[in-house]
Amino acid sequence: MTGGSEWQRAVQAVAVELHARLERPLAVIVATQDGLEVGAAGDKRLAPGRLAAITSSMSAIGDVVSKESGLGHVRCLTVEAELGYLVMRATRRDGIGLVVAALVGRGALLGLAMHAVADAARGLDR
């Protein structure tokens, strides 16, 4: 499916690093564009496999909305919810499209979470 076990270890390391860097982190998921979990950190009760599929759907729908609206490719999607934020960013690694998603609690600063997710996405990109 992906670039082998070393590839997966590198992606997983980015997920763990991002989780450690976030304020009030709940979970970090790295998914392929087609919804397969390739990295996860944080609360496993949040079903990372299911979140991977959901974030890939949201990312694809966000991309369609951006393009249909003349805004070009989507870079970052944010969900503000009652109890926290979900920040998603698309990236690529070795030709494989990925979505980096971070869930943080309401007390986190959204701007910092977006910045951290963008850094993680850049770190994966090669």
Partner: protein
């Protein structure tokens, strides 16, 4: 209000192709590269497909297609809301075609008693078994009586027939519900 119809079914069943064949406008698609080695396809739908068709120059119907993989079953539930009917497409060339029908009947159980439904079975010219009758018998086992027809989703006429069957069923349901 415009009618909404949902095309669902397993990966490779032809949902995106069917909407592309029928839609009067360029369909909106959320296809991305496929990384799942168990599927022999380059791209796969992860959000939804969307198109519209005007039937006989009158009624406009909105067409939605779901992703096929089980991991996207949350989208199946979201997309069937407020639909007047569901087309379940089955690819008969896949070895477990009948179990795919089971999977979708079970996942949509809460909706199928309230909406119209048609089963379209594809690639029957090269893979005639299970037969159309066998699919109908399986529907009866699940407590449903829906039309089952063989289709080539690349042909607009075939897809239009699926939609017209759904609309006919939906109208019949409305007539029965009227006091």
């Amino acid at each position: 209000m415009e009618a909404k119809i949902v095309f669902t079914g397993p990966p490779n069943a032809g949902k995106t192709t069917a909407i592309g064949a029928l839609s009067d406008v360029a369909p909106i698609m959320t296809d991305v590269d496929n990384n799942d080695g168990s599927l022999s396809k380059d791209t796969t739908t992860v959000g939804f497909d969307y198109g519209v068709v005007r039937i006989d120059g009158a009624e406009q119907v909105r067409l939605y297609g779901t992703p096929g993989q089980k991991r996207f079953d949350f989208m199946w539930q979201i997309l069937v809301r407020d639909a007047i009917g569901v087309v379940i497409l089955i690819d008969n060339s896949q070895p477990d075609a009948m179990s795919h029908l089971d999977e979708f009947l079970i996942s949509l159980e809460g909706y199928l008693h309230d909406v119209a439904c048609v089963i379209g079975v594809g690639r029957t010219e090269t893979h005639p078994m299970p037969s159309i009758d066998a699919f109908a018998a399986r529907l009866a086992f699940h407590g449903h009586v829906f039309p089952v027809i063989d289709v080539d989703v690349r042909r607009r006429g075939d897809v239009l027939m699926l939609v017209e069957l759904l609309l006919t069923q939906a109208e019949a349901r409305l007539m029965l519900e009227r006091p």
